[in-house]
Symmetry: C2
Subunit: 513 residues, 2 copies
Amino acid sequence: MDETYNYICFDLRKLQKLYQKMAQKISSRKDDYSKWYLDIIKTADLAENSEVRGCMVIKPYGFAIWEKMKAQLDTMFKETGHQNAYFPLFVPKRLFEAEEKNAEGFAKECAVVTHYRLKADPNNKGKLIVDPDAKLEDELVVRPTSEAIIWSTYKKWIQSYRDLPILINQWANVVRWEMRTRLFLRTAEFLWQEGHTAHASKTEAITESELILDIYAKFAEEFMAMPVVRGVKSESERFAGAEETYTIEAMMQDGKALQSGTSHFLGQNFAKAFDVKFSDKEGKLDHVWATSWGVSTRLMGALIMSHSDDLGLVLPPKLAPIHVAIVPIFKGEEQLAEIKEKLDPIISELRKADISVKFDDDDQKRPGWKFAEYEAKGVPVRLAVGARDLANNQIEVARRDTQEKASISLDNVVEHIKTLLEDIQENLYSTAKNRHTSNTQKVESYDELKEKLNSEPGFFLAHWDGTIETEEKIQKETKATIRCIPLDAEEEEGKCIVTGKPSKKRVIFAKAY
Amino acid sequence: MDETYNYICFDLRKLQKLYQKMAQKISSRKDDYSKWYLDIIKTADLAENSEVRGCMVIKPYGFAIWEKMKAQLDTMFKETGHQNAYFPLFVPKRLFEAEEKNAEGFAKECAVVTHYRLKADPNNKGKLIVDPDAKLEDELVVRPTSEAIIWSTYKKWIQSYRDLPILINQWANVVRWEMRTRLFLRTAEFLWQEGHTAHASKTEAITESELILDIYAKFAEEFMAMPVVRGVKSESERFAGAEETYTIEAMMQDGKALQSGTSHFLGQNFAKAFDVKFSDKEGKLDHVWATSWGVSTRLMGALIMSHSDDLGLVLPPKLAPIHVAIVPIFKGEEQLAEIKEKLDPIISELRKADISVKFDDDDQKRPGWKFAEYEAKGVPVRLAVGARDLANNQIEVARRDTQEKASISLDNVVEHIKTLLEDIQENLYSTAKNRHTSNTQKVESYDELKEKLNSEPGFFLAHWDGTIETEEKIQKETKATIRCIPLDAEEEEGKCIVTGKPSKKRVIFAKAY
């Protein structure tokens, strides 16, 4: 046996220990799902809490995933005629008041700027105080969402039907003063996109909200490999000011629902609040019809909880910053050079096929450490190659999703990886889809719903009489909410599980993030 | 003569009027340079003031240009090993205090969040007030720049030389409470990128600041077609906390300087303020070396003022959202269909070559109106084609920069446009470069400087004794500042124009934005 082989054997013995060590850092889903989620974020180096209450730092690897999401969504928005723009971070308090008349339910927990200067504390050297002489007359709210500032701007842009439609999106940070925060899922500041469109007719605005819902659902399913239910929210769960809120709801591995994107048909409510009218072809004045829609860094939480396992993050190839990590197993510069020479053309070919490759020749870290590292980071494919492999013209391929390993010939490694990445993308989706399907069930009575909510994870389809009272009763007694009324729900004659009143469609009840 | 020809003639007669009308909307540079600048922004539909004091709305066309800038810079940062991340919008006041010890000069005009809730005004129905019960103990400052929050985070990330370098950039919004604002050039909120790097040695950090200066200069010259002087700032113009501030300075058409990007070598100042140490290979502890660097939406102002003329915006092709606008001149659907059929393969070929094409068949607007519109928006190339052109197998090509027009054969239009776009890019650069060169002159005495600053635009190279006193005297008496000490300044024995003290290099004096 040559030295390399010894080295590899030595390494494989250590590998087991390393895996154990890495695994210890991550709680199992079974033991503590909440802690597992945070452990994944930590070991994959995605984000962390900052010095500012409720605000997170998105670390480079986490941000790289978010950038991939952004790029794809941005392309989909532009392909459907939307343009990006940028509106101010601040919303004057008086604009909220205009909106408030329409939307009493609007959250008021937000960051308020009251002053525009700090000054040296005259009584305490080295300290700063807020300068009382620099108080704002009209306080500024850091945008929790931008309907108010955008509709007060649209008022200046819209006079005639010729100015419509306006199809604008912005990528921005927003702030909502959340009391209980969790990385990605609920933070005081988060990143999102918010689309705000203006239309000349009700039909056109509804079509727009549905088009966006479709984009969100496609993105979730085809890129995040995350099946979703398309539906509309019940009245009490609607966005304040919306006439209809469309939603995509995903099921996490613990069976809880995660609202992943919403698209609102706003009717003429914001146009009325901000007095935005247009003259139609006949010269008649009418209020403008509106939509707004958004997805946020919350999708990162959804992505993590859809696919990851007890060893770390699992990423669908279409959103993975690194598709293939290559770990050369070598002793000395000469062996490394040999491996490099053999792999260089393969790496070039992979990159030409838009496959992102990391060749990790860091000699300060053991291969076993690297294996565990790329596993924790959810890199879809890992290649390992040593001198013995080279001699046999082969390479070890490991796929992250199923943990399967195989030795394949160096001659067709590029084609193999292309197919493998497609397989992984499909496998993640079908695994999630199977989980979603097998954890979705019909319940026929309130007792059955209560019992199952306590014993089984997932979505429960039940008849509901459509009233807020019933919805509130169920939520209060079970902690489950109506996630949505699915768009594809079949029509059937049923009775509300609580009141026995007639119902034509089942709605989804579930516990939710 | 056929009807089309009549139509075109009619149109050409109207065109003259339309140009005049469009031109009236834009003040001439000669009459009112400041107003010209704002008129360009308005007619090209780039941005406007918002309801929030000092904050702008960046409109879709302006934002599309900014997106092109972002994409190119982002590529250049990533190619040199930098990664994007995201840090909180807010900086706790106490972190500013830590920094303050080092940097007394730090601007304190900033937006301060003191409360986290609004509530209904009990005395005034429909109104909101800041909830006095929701006062923050430690006030939050909306980031004017992120050194404080980032270095308090890096403290947690850095223990050993193995954790270095950290090469992070973020694209973000920042707020500085400016009293006098002007669209893009100086606004309370603006968009920028800020790089923050951490290094194990002084040399490495200096190399990093210089690398970034080089990226900024290349971007300005090769993409914005805007020549710049690379230099370092005098001590009094340095970023507070920096040991050296590298800068690129561009000359606008009125001869004033515009600082377009800065890269700071921060020494160990921030590491000391936030107590960030690393152990080197020998286990010795030392403070980390740092850089920070940024460019902002101010570059939009620089771009506008570098190339635009009295007819509107002029854009270098590499940053133009639309490269080619095609205006069909037609009467009726049939003629339009004929034109479309002929042009469709040409448009496809252009798009395949990454040339962005707008085919404008809007029949509600006259060709003359469209010509003026694309001129105002700085679209580099405009094509016009009517039935007669088709019959002759030709098309009219107009270039925006020189206003030249030519009829060319439809057979080689794609190649022609490719070359034309390259020509325009080069021509814009060489025109700006010539202006820059011819408006840069040496002055040998303080009297000469004073006289020329009053009578001639541009940059003045003069000897300076290196003291803050002299610099301040000149600034106070002439309003000109030292823009930079050029990196390529020739060594020569000279005497300070004010004090007569010896000087080895000339520095640039100029009035500035």
